[in-house]
Symmetry: C2
Subunit: 174 residues, 2 copies
């Protein structure tokens, strides 16, 4: 960040009054531009005892297998984000269940939130960001070719505890 | 957002190639500036059967009671963020336990993640953002004067299920 996104003038890095952390502050309008971790939201969809995974068509980890997941968008709930990502990456409609895993990844400033889920109709195909989408039985999981540690963690947790977890909640205006 | 934070030139709002959502895009360097929901992280600390709450010294909801919580910072885990906020707002050191609640608040683009916690030594006092900090027995909770619906939800869930929840996980580089 070099320029203020509000007024276009140069940014300086300093600790604002009442704060204890270096921030990006506009040298002209004094707006403080905070940077915060991003939420990656997704799910591990199940269908007749098998799990749906996607082979990545994009970097990072192109060619490796992942659960459908991506950056949460403005205006959606965690569950809506997980369902949207599954539709985009696997062309599959899901019912989202309980929270499966919450994984902080502080060195890349992300929190991964993964849900249990069930395919609604068993239909799926590769979306634009996937080379291939398929169902794996628990014995077929490509453990050596999974894209991210949080995916490995989530699949292990799902196999160990298919029906547990915590239900998340949403608050919307009346 | 009016100006590109990278190069300082004007922003246009358009749907980038391969996307399906309007984004802030730089008219000069073509950088896409994504906007994403923020994580608010906190906890409801317990000590000898009572719960620690803070009376807010800042807007929004100045004068109302809240659990210690705030925006997650770069480079920390959810648990580290919850402990940091408790130290800042209640000058209290806590051991963070299982996840108590996950609450999506899409109309303000936030996800609130709250943990069970225990005071380490029973010590606390008002931090800069608090007018007062005190312990409440379950019968004393100021339900009508709680600051946010997610705080009400979290306290109810804690009273109904003091020891349950889901443990979150962190991945740090070796």
């Amino acid at each position: 960040m070099n320029y203020c996104s509000d007024c276009g003038k140069p940014i300086v890095i300093e600790i604002p009054d009442g704060d204890n952390t270096l921030r990006h502050v506009c040298s002209a309008c004094r707006t403080i531009h905070y940077k915060n971790p991003l939420i990656v939201v997704g799910c591990v969809p199940e269908w007749e005892g098998r799990l749906l995974l996607c082979k990545r068509a994009i970097e990072p980890r192109l060619g490796y297998w992942t659960a459908p997941a991506g950056f949460m968008e403005l205006g959606e709930t965690l569950e809506e984000g997980a369902a949207r990502e599954t539709l985009e990456e696997a062309c599959a409609r899901v019912e989202i269940g309980s929270m499966l895993a919450s994984v902080s990844v502080p060195h890349v400033n992300q929190v991964h939130i993964m849900f249990r889920a069930r395919l609604l109709d068993g239909q799926f195909s590769a979306g634009e960001e996937s080379l291939e989408v398929r169902l794996f039985s628990p014995y077929e999981i490509p453990w050596q070719d999974l894209a991210f540690p949080s995916v490995t963690f989530s699949i292990k947790k799902l196999l160990a505890d298919p029906h547990g977890g915590m239900h998340s909640h949403s608050i919307k205006p009346r």
